[in-house]
Every structure is written in structure tokens, then in C-alpha cells.
Amino acid sequence: MSWAAHDLEPYAFQRHLNLKVAFVPLLIGSYSPDMMSKWFVYGIHLGPWDLKASNPAQFHRGWPGVGFTHSFLFGLVICLILWKGFGSKLWGVSFLIGHWAHALTDTGDTVGTMLLFPWTFHFHLDAWAYAGQTGRMTDAAAYFSGLGGMWDLVWIVYGFFSWRVLTSDYFDNVIFRADAFWPWCNRAVPRGALLTLYRAAFFYGTSRWIAWTLWAHVIHHYPYDLSWGGPHWVPAAHP
């Protein structure tokens, strides 16, 4: 799984697609595969109950489970609902791009994704360890000690390289004009607040990457292991 890439990838796509995409569905698409499932992967305390998947990796990425949310077909179905059902091709296609980017990025870990569901084969590159089953904190430590964290860094650097997509001029001339959602919001929300909201995912992804890296390596001294499939000090899950 990825911790910050899904916050940052939409800005990279935005740089290249400009008016051809709408940013909000692009971002929602990028978040969508994990929206309803991450809490159950890590587990939560709800009063006297501890709710957690008995096999988090299987639940998150497999079948039976909700692994179909990381398939091309799932993104396509939501795309068609937005396009044909709600009449917005722009939102449908933008959602699809964001969603497929997430599904492809998550093939980087040791569990991978069922890209061609209903075929339940997991496509996985094994570049970094999937450690969601170990709990949120160990997963964070492992992720930011291996190639997963470095992959996030690539998106941060590319985001800064594409800094113009974060400027107010770009927001006014592209983001705001491409999608009627923004003028609709602007009836109640000032333009300055909307610009801040547009930048929020980049801020969140980048700040969180720095914070977790400091937490893992300055405060807790987890060892870096940038070898393929690492870090090997954590038990990686497999399909």
C-alpha cells in the first residue's frame, strides 16, 4: 500500500492534462480504492469492540474481500455511472484516471492488486513490503524505511518540479474553468478558501511524508532497507 502517493499523483496528472480533467473526481478516484476499507485493515476500537479483518491483506486486496476495489473494472463501472448515469463525462474520465493510477501504484508492493478482476490473479512487483497486517504504526515504519517511501518521494519531487500547477494563476485559469463544481462552491465559499482546498492534498501528502520519515528514523531509529521487497525486518504479506 502507499501512504502519500495517492495524495500526490493527481497533481502530476493535472500538469499534463490541464483542462481535459477535473481535479476533484481525479482526487476522489485516487483515494477511492481504500476509502471504505483501510479502517478495517488496521482495526479500530469501538466501545467494547475491536473491529479488524482476520486476514487484513486478504480483505484489503483479495477475493473474497474488497480487493475488487483495486481493479480496472471497478474504476470503469464508477466511471460509467458518473458518465452515463449523471451525465458527466469529465467527472467519469477524471475519476477513472485517478482510480487506475491508485490500482497500478499498489501493484508495487508484495500483495499487489487484482487488476483484471474477476480474474483473481494478483499483479505484484514486490518492490516494497505490504505490512498492513502488522498494524498502522509498524506499517508506517516499514513503508517509510523501504522503496515505498522512496516512490512517494518521486511524486513529491515531481510535484515541486510542476510547481506551477499549485499557483493561483493555474487555479483560476485551469482548475476553476475546467469544472463547474468550483464556480458552484464559489457561491458560498470564497475563492481563497477554494484555492487552499485545491492545494490541500499536496500539502497533506508532502507534510505527512516528512513527518512519518522523521518519526520512523529520527525518533524511533527504524533501519532503512532500500533493497527490493524491503524492509526485510518486517514480515511482508503475500497473496
Binding site: 495524495d7 478558501a193 484555492l195 500539502f203 516528512i210
Partner: protein, 64 residues
């Protein structure tokens, strides 16, 4: 319409805005390292950014 983005060089206004976001990020990271749960929620991050990067600067501009 086809837009081309050059990487170019940010102007003074861009750098001032970027500096403000860097300060906001430094405080966000400091809070997050002190209270780790702060880092988990996207919505907490959004509200934090709205307050620090829009609400407070807007209020200060109005007072001044």
C-alpha cells in the same frame, strides 16, 4: 485550448506564498510528531490548512 507549463522561476509573490505554506507545514509536522493521531486524518489536515493558510492570513489582512 492547449496550455504549456514551463518550470521557469517563481516570482516574489510565489515565494512568499510558498514560505507561508512551509511554516504551516513545519507546525503541522511538529504537532504530528507530538500527537501522532494528528497525522492520520486527511480531513484534519484539510481543516488545519484552511485555518493556517487561509483563515488566519485573511483575518490578519482585515485587521491590518
Amino acid at each position: 485550448m492547449r496550455l504549456r507549463l514551463s518550470t521557469g522561476t517563481p516570482d516574489r509573490h510565489d515565494l512568499i506564498v510558498f514560505g507561508g505554506y512551509c511554516v504551516a507545514a513545519a507546525v503541522y509536522i511538529a504537532i504530528g510528531l507530538t500527537w501522532i493521531d494528528f497525522l492520520f486524518s486527511f480531513w484534519v489536515g484539510v481543516v488545519y490548512l484552511l485555518v493556517t493558510a487561509w483563515l488566519i492570513p485573511t483575518a490578519v489582512r482585515r485587521i491590518l
